[in-house]
Structure formats: structure tokens, C-alpha cells
């Protein structure tokens, strides 16, 4: 079990300025606080996602899918899984209040060969939601921290 404190860093505007994450063999939890600058910049077409990605292998080496239950207080919350990441997202970050705690969690299904510990990175991702446009639009992301599961990180 490890605990990681990320170094002080100037996060991009869409990333929670303060947060905590924990994950173990069968669940992933994420809490964040966004600044007034973040909240003011978010528009209805934006979505935000906190993604867990393996550092040395795809996340599918550790989790084979999502577990039964999930929830939280992210506005317009959702969860997704693919071979690259396990994600907790919110479709309506513009509905957040500044300097307020929001959280989400999802249970996960461990893969059959899940090791006793493994390293992941937590990525903050901004998605532009210009519905109706015909082509992909740019997104932005940054790594918040790297930590070992089972374990936690705060920033």
C-alpha cells in the first residue's frame, strides 16, 4: 500500500486544483475540488474525465471491466472502460460550484492475472462537446500523478 503526494504543479485550468484518488483490486475512487477559474471556463459543451491508465501495460492487464455499482456527485456522471483506461467522468462540469468537493467511484472487475501491485497514472482529460460538428475536435489532457495500486495519491 503506497501513498503518493504529487509535487506542487501549475495544473491546466480544467484539472481539479485539489484532489485525492484511491484504487485497489476492485474499485476506483476520485475526489476533486475545482477553482472558480475552472468553473467559470467550463461550458455546456465540455466534459471532464479522470482516467486511470497503466504505466507499463494497458489497463486491461489489471482490470477486465467495470463492476456492478458506481455513483457519486459529479454533475452528469458516467463511467467507462476500454482496454486503455478506466474512467470516471462528468458530462456537465459547468454545473459545478467553485471550491466544492465532488467525488465519484466505480467498482471494477479484476483481470484473472491481476498482479498484487501495479503502477498507474491518473490523467485529467478535457473533452470538447461540440455536438453536431462533423469532425473530431481537439481535446487536452495532462497527467496528474502516478501511483501504485492498491494505493492512493493526493495533490
Amino acid at each position: 500500500m503506497t501513498f503518493v503526494s504529487a509535487p506542487a504543479y501549475a495544473w491546466d485550468w480544467y484539472t481539479p486544483h485539489d484532489g485525492y484518488t484511491f484504487a485497489d483490486e476492485d474499485y476506483y475512487y476520485l475526489r476533486g475540488v475545482w477553482s472558480s477559474t475552472s468553473v467559470d471556463k467550463y461550458s455546456w459543451w465540455d466534459a471532464w474525465e479522470g482516467e486511470l491508465r497503466g504505466t507499463s501495460q494497458a489497463i486491461s492487464a489489471y482490470y477486465s471491466g467495470l463492476g456492478s455499482s458506481w455513483g457519486g456527485s459529479f454533475p452528469g456522471r458516467y463511467r467507462e472502460y476500454d482496454s486503455n483506461d478506466v474512467m470516471l467522468g462528468m458530462a456537465s462540469p459547468h454545473l459545478m460550484s467553485a471550491n466544492t468537493t465532488y467525488y465519484a467511484y466505480t467498482y471494477t472487475t479484476p483481470s484473472s492475472g491481476q498482479p498484487g501491485s501495479f503502477s498507474v497514472l491518473l490523467e485529467s482529460e478535457l473533452c470538447y462537446d461540440y455536438g453536431g460538428l462533423p469532425d473530431p475536435v481537439p481535446r487536452d489532457w495532462e497527467t496528474i500523478t502516478t501511483f501504485t495500486i492498491p494505493g492512493s495519491a493526493s495533490w
Partner: protein
Amino acid sequence: MRRFLLAACVLGLAIVVWMVWQPSLSANSRVEGEKVVVYVGGPVTGSVIDYVTGRTSVLKELAAREPDRVLDAIIVLDRFVSPRDADAMTAQWAVQPREVYLALPGEDYSGGTLVESSVQNACQAHLRDFLAMAEEMALRDPENEELQRHAELARKGGLKVYAVQVRGPVAQLALIAEADGVLLVDSFYDAKAQNYAARRGLALTWRVVPLRPDGGP
């Protein structure tokens, strides 16, 4: 100068032709990298009434064309109901529940749980999982007082059902859309997005974010 103008006109025409040729996406869908994401359960933006009217029309048109086609759909209720009532509703509608959506009315918390046997059992599983997570986070992340408050409300029986994801024939789904207590039956069907994804070889993801009866986020 004439050549420049001609080239500009040709380029402009090419852009217009390209834009017309591109299949557009609906307002509730977008491209994210290698996948097309379609939101179901409520509008990403705009009027709820317009969204409900539009999606109900799509479902009815589909039911007229392909009544036996089996689709997933999210049934969004116009009120919070107990897990027992949700079981009674899905039994009456003769559809198989696949996931139930629960919330604490008037609070920010909501979530979901896959249904294996009954909605009631799924809700019990959700409560058990939520409280287990909250108990662990009380030790690991004591700063999150909101989580502990939500857990206490859930422990006291506060979780209510507001949407159920089901699978059934389109004709049946269209009938459910008319039922008492139902705000919207939003099928996992979006011709524009599905054509767009197929044409470009992109994956398609349905992102379920049901409207809450209390207008909660």
C-alpha cells in the same frame, strides 16, 4: 488576380461540398478520438421538452418500421419510486431490466447498479457497495464530508429509483413511453451517429446520463 479569385472560388466550393457530404452528428453525440459517443437519457443542451418530444418521435417511427427489433433503452421516470415499485413497473411492462439508476432526492448523489435478478436486489447491492466504499473512505479520505453525509442518508433508506435501463422490442418500448410515470424512453438508436461511426470505422459508445425528476445534476 483572376487566377487567385478562381482558385479561391474552387476552394470555397470544395469546402462547401465536403461539408454537405459529411454526415453530421446529432446534438447529443460527438467524436472522442477513435469513438463516437452518444448521450442518452436527456439532452446535452437545450430544452427537455423538445428532447423528449424528438426522441419519442424517433422511437415511434422506428416502432412503425421495425416493431420487433430489440433495442436497449433507458426508461426515465417522472418521479422517484421505491425499488419494489420499479420491479412492479418493469414486470408490468414485460421488459428485462439491465441497470437501475438511483439517487438521493434533493442531493447531488446518484449512481447505478447492474440488475442480475431484480431491481430490489440490485438496489440492495448498490447500498451495500456504496456503504462499504464510504466506510473505507472515512478512514482514507476524511476530508470528504459530503460522501459521509450521503452515506448516512442512504443508510436511512434515502436511495430512490429514477431510471431503468432495459432491453426489449421497439414496439413495446414505444408503448412504455406512453405509460403513467414515464417521462422518456430513450432508445440506443441514433441513425446519424451510427452511420457516422460505421462510415469511418469508429467504435460507438452509449453514455447514459438520465434526467433526474428533481432536476438534480
